[in-house]
Amino acid sequence: MLQTIFYGLTIGGILYIISIGLSLTFGAMGIVNFSHGLIYAIGAYTIYAVMAKMGINFILGAVIAVLVSIPFSYIIEKYVIRRLYGESIDYAIIATYAVLLIGVDAIKWIWGASPLPISDPVGISIQFLTMEMPLYRLIIIGLTLLILIGLSLFFKKTIIGKIIIAGLGDREAVRGLGIRLDKYFAIIFILGSALAALGGVLYSPISTLHPYMGFHILILCFAVVIVGGMGNLRGTAIAAFSLGLVMAITGRIWGPAAEAMVYVVMAFVLMIRPIET
């Protein structure tokens, strides 16, 4: 059971890293951003490309993958997302879904449709009580905690973080102070996208790469955002780890129901706390 909890925390950590950007885009800009799944896939395929084709090690590859995602997210923010501020949510869904579809076809064109594996970059397990834990998964949990603390400090201590927190609550009032909120939202969009790319990097050794991987993770992340509350940073963290544990524990009892149980939890949350529109 301890190992199941440990696996759940790993999945929860990765879900948190990917979901935080989605939650901020939802909460701050009112935009449902399907292209987030593409950035996640770009992170995963870039680490594959630099490791398999160029022989670069995992850590440097991870840095390159995150850096590669930045111009993509910048272009998506500038030419798609920024034009959707204040528009109906339907336009955002259609436009960002189109970006995701274009990206998936581009991935198929470049790397093909077959699944691609990445091996565990650490390849060491450590003994704890009666069980063996892959060190790589421990590193993921540690990194997630560092990101959680780092983001918490960022939003509490920096002026950009405070502007975003204020903007999540009342966009008009922030703009009324003379603050160009769209500039700060763009920064946070790129930060959130970079984290999605990092999530793609971290998840690839414990999963396989395939062109539709962005779709798959996106649905789980939407569940995290809905359970945690749109734009609710603390809620996103709690929801990600909780749903990670739900997946792991359900998977241990009956494997095929692991992901379905996430949506059962989401449905339950929506029943007791409907989304305000």
Binding site: K162, L168, A173, G176
Partner: protein, 239 residues
């Protein structure tokens, strides 16, 4: 002429202003002038267009026709960020503080875009209402309605405001707090030009240099006679 002043001491000129919400026209041919240092109140029933007018002046709504001149320069079409940086500051109704931030952080955000020193900004807000000092490090969502309103008014005084747009400052507050806020607004009178949307005619009578009565999106009546302004019974039937 003073540097930066509009012609003849006029700070704001609104001409033939029209605003639509979708296809519905909500402001019709609004026109008025406002002098430097003047306190103008806008009164009218709910839905008469008071807040729409104030939001249009603040850059939150784009007019479909007409012009707004601030110190002789057109500002209609500018976004609220640019309007604010010109010195026009907006106090929203409903006491909209940034609840997840502390009182001091609320002040910090107001000081940031105009590069005002934070401590100086805090002192400016405390000079309006010294009792806020004990709440500086508390989340603003814990403040009472009156304290929130005073924080909002103090926040717009940071930097060099020229024109304050204040929407329903006494709405939903207890009589004691209303009189405190009225006293604060009176103490600011003459230092800044102010447009105050207000439903409480007793407050209007104490504050106003000029009253505009709005009805169904038009400027129905203007009252400039100080004697008449002090007697709400003279114009309450016009609302």
């Amino acid at each position: 002429m003073l540097l930066g002043k509009g012609r003849d001491g006029v700070i704001l000129t609104v001409e033939n202003l029209e605003v639509h919400y979708g296809r519905a026209k909500v402001l019709h041919n609004i026109a008025f002038k406002m002098d430097e240092g003047e306190l103008v109140t806008i009164v009218g029933r709910n839905g008469s267009g008071k807040t729409t007018l104030l939001k249009t002046l603040g850059g939150f709504l784009k007019p479909s026709a007409g012009s707004i001149l601030f110190r002789g320069q057109r500002i209609d079409g500018l976004g609220p960020e640019n309007v604010a940086l010109k010195g026009i500051r907006y106090v929203f109704q409903d006491k909209r503080v940034f609840g997840e931030l502390t009182v001091k952080e609320n002040i910090e955000l107001a000081a940031y875009p105009i590069k005002e020193n934070l401590e100086k900004a805090v002192q400016k807000v405390l000079s309006v209402y010294p009792r806020l000092e004990k709440f500086l490090h508390s989340k603003a969502k814990g403040l009472s309605g009156g304290e929130r309103q005073i924080l909002l008014i103090g926040r717009v005084l940071i930097g060099q405001p020229q024109l304050l747009l204040i929407d329903e400052p006494t709405e939903g507050l207890a009589a004691k707090i209303i009189s405190e806020i009225t006293a604060i607004l009176l103490s600011m009178k003459g230092q800044f030009s102010m447009i105050v949307v207000e439903q409480n005619l007793a407050t209007v009578a104490r504050l106003a240099d000029k009253i505009h009565i709005m009805k169904e999106g038009v400027m129905f009546k203007e009252i400039t006679d100080p004697e008449m302004i002090r007697q709400p019974s003279q114009y309450e039937n016009d609302l």
